[in-house]
Amino acid sequence: MKTCNMNTSLPTAINLPPPSYPAPPPPPWLGLFNTPLIHIQEPISSDSSPSNPSDTPDSIDDYPPIPSDSSNTNFSSQKPSLNILPSIIKTFLYSNQVNHKPEYQKWVEWVKGNGYENGRVVYSDHLPVLLASTSSDGIDVLSIPTGRGGLRIPRMVKSFSHSDITHITKIFSCFNVTGIPQVQASGFVHFEGIQLMVDHIAKDRVSDIACNFISSWLIDYTIQQCDLLKIPCEQCQLDVYAYDMHKFVKETVNLPVLPTTKSPLLFVPKRWLRLDPWLGYDDYYQRHFPKTSGAVIAAGSRIDILTYNRQNYGLVEAYVKEKERTHADCRNDPLFSPIPVLSVKRKLSMVQKIPSGTKDAADKKYEDAICQLMASLLYPQLDFADEQSRVDSGVLIRDMIFYNNRSYKFLKDIYDEYDCRQIVVELKNVKEIEREHINQVNRYLKDQFGRFAIIMTRNPPPKPMFRNTIDLWSAQRRCILILDDSDLAMMCGLFASRQRLPVDVIMKKYVEFTRACPG
C-alpha cells in the first residue's frame, strides 16, 4: 500500500486552536485492518507526551481531537508536501477478541468462503472478488508523482497481469487439487497467510485487499475529516465492497482529490499505519523458516520457499500460532524510527569534524547530518520533520521544518505565544552567523509557520547578532533562537543518557532568550 503523508502540509494550512470534535467512531474491525492510504495528523494531547512509541493509545477514544479552524484554511495557496511512506494494513485477525462483531464475521465468512463452500473447496469461484479487491482505483494515491528514497512498493493500483491471474488461479487450484487439509477445512484463518504460499501476493497486496474491504469506513472517515478541516472535496466514483452481495459496487461520493490528477484521496488515522504486517513473509523467512534443515538448501528463491510452505503447511501453521500467541506485541509501529544512540554519537562526531563553509560540499554534509540528527533527537515531541521544504515558487527553501503538535508544554507555549504551527529550522554551516542569515530566517516566518524559528550554526553568535534577534523580538515579537555545536552536543548527550529530553535544550535557549528580552 502506498501511503501519502500529508502531515507536513495539511496542518500548515490550518489554524489550530483548541479543538473540539468527536473522534470518529471506531470501525468494527479496528485492530483487524489498519489500512493506510493517506493519513492525517492526529495531534497528541498537549498535556501528555508519550515518551516512546509504545505509549500510543490503543483505542480511538484515547486520541484527542484534531484541532480545526476554518478561518485560515487555505489549501489552494500551498503546495502539499506529499511524502510517500510505504505502510501496511494490519489484517491480523483476533478471532477471540472480535468474534461478536458482525462485520468481522462477514469478513471471516468471506475469507473462509473462498476456501470452503458446501463441503468442497471452490477457490476459483471467489478468485475474481479477491483479485478485484487488489485493485483500488479511486482510493489509492496512485497519482502521487514520485516516491522518496527508494521506499517503493509496487503501485497499489497496479492490477494483476493476465499471466499473474493465471498463475494465482493455478496456485489456488493447487490447494484444491493437492490439498492442504487445514486450508480445505477452514480456509484462511489469517488472510495474511496467503503471502506465505502464493507468489505475486506480498504485504502490499494484502494491505490493498484489506484496504478495499474497509473502504466504506475510510470514505466515511475522510468525509468527516474533510468537513472538520474544510478540505475541498469533489465528486468521485469508487468501488466499495458490499458484504451482502460479496462483490464490489460503484458508489459516488464526495472526496478530496489530488490537485494534479484529480485522483480521489482517502485519509487514514495515523495509528493505523504499520511498516510491516504482523504476519509477513520477511518476518517468517528471517525468524521462522528453518535454516538448518534441507529446506534452506531446497529453497533457493522466494518461489521455492512458497512451494516449500505449501508442501509443509505445518510450518506456516506453527508460525501463525506463535504470532497468535504473541499478538499482544502486535501494536502499531511508529513510522519514524529514531537513529540509535551509537549512531547519534557518530553523527555528532562527524558534524564536529565538518569544517565550516562550503568547501568540499561541507555545507551539504552538515545539513544532511543535522537533519538526521534533529529528526531523531526531537522525536516524538516534534514529528514529521521535512527537509528542504519549498514554497510554490521555489524561491524560499526552508532547510527543515517540524510540525508542532504541541505534545510538550514548551511546544504549546511557543504555539500560544508565537502561533508556531511549524518550527522552521535553518542550518548554517558558517563560522559566524551574520545579519543576513537572521534576516533570511525572518523572511521565512510567514503566517502559516508562526513567528518562531531556530538557526543551527557552528559557533555561538556574536553579541551584536544575538542583540539583533532580541531587537527582532522587540519590534515584531518574533523569536529566533540560535543553537550551536555545543547545544547540539548537549542534545545528543541528553538523548544518550535519557536524563532529560533533547527538546529541553531548545527550551533552555528559549528561556535564556526571553530573559535577555527587554521588559
Partner: protein
C-alpha cells in the same frame, strides 16, 4: 546558642547534602555536560531549600540563588559545583557553632542543656 531542634535539622540536612553531592559528583566525573533529570532536580531543590532556611542570609553561599530552575537545564557539573558550595557553607555554620568542652567538640547549646557532641571542624583537621 543553638537549639536542639536546629541541630537535628542541621545534621539531617548536612547528611542529605553530602549524599547528594557524592552521587552528583560521581555522575559529573562520568559526563559533566549531561542534564539532571526532573526527578533528581526536584529532590535536590528540596534539600537546597531546607539548607537555605537553615543557613539564613549570613551563611548562604549565594544570595541570589534559591534553587535550580528546571527550564535552565542545569548540567551535572553545575549541580555538583553548587552542592559543594553548600557543603562548605554548612561546615562553616557548624564550625561557628561548636566549642570544646571537657576535651570534646560540642554544639554551643544553651545553658543547662545537655552537651551534644560533634566532630572537630574540618578546617582544624590535621592541625
Amino acid at each position: 546558642m543553638i537549639k536542639r531542634e536546629t541541630i537535628d535539622a542541621f545534621e539531617k540536612t548536612q547528611a542529605q547534602m553530602e549524599a547528594l553531592h557524592r552521587e552528583i559528583a560521581a555522575l559529573s566525573r562520568k559526563s559533566p555536560n549531561d542534564g539532571v533529570n526532573i526527578f533528581k532536580l526536584g529532590l535536590i531543590n528540596k534539600v537546597v531549600h531546607t539548607t537555605n532556611q537553615l543557613l539564613g542570609e549570613t551563611y548562604r553561599p549565594f544570595a541570589d540563588f534559591d534553587s535550580f530552575d528546571e527550564n535552565n537545564l542545569p548540567t551535572v557539573s553545575d549541580v555538583a559545583m553548587v552542592l559543594a558550595q553548600y557543603l562548605n557553607c554548612l561546615e562553616k555554620y557548624r564550625a561557628d557553632n561548636v566549642h570544646v568542652y571537657q576535651g570534646y567538640w560540642c554544639w554551643c547549646t544553651g545553658a543547662g542543656e545537655d552537651c551534644i557532641r560533634t566532630a572537630q571542624p574540618k578546617k582544624l583537621e590535621g592541625k
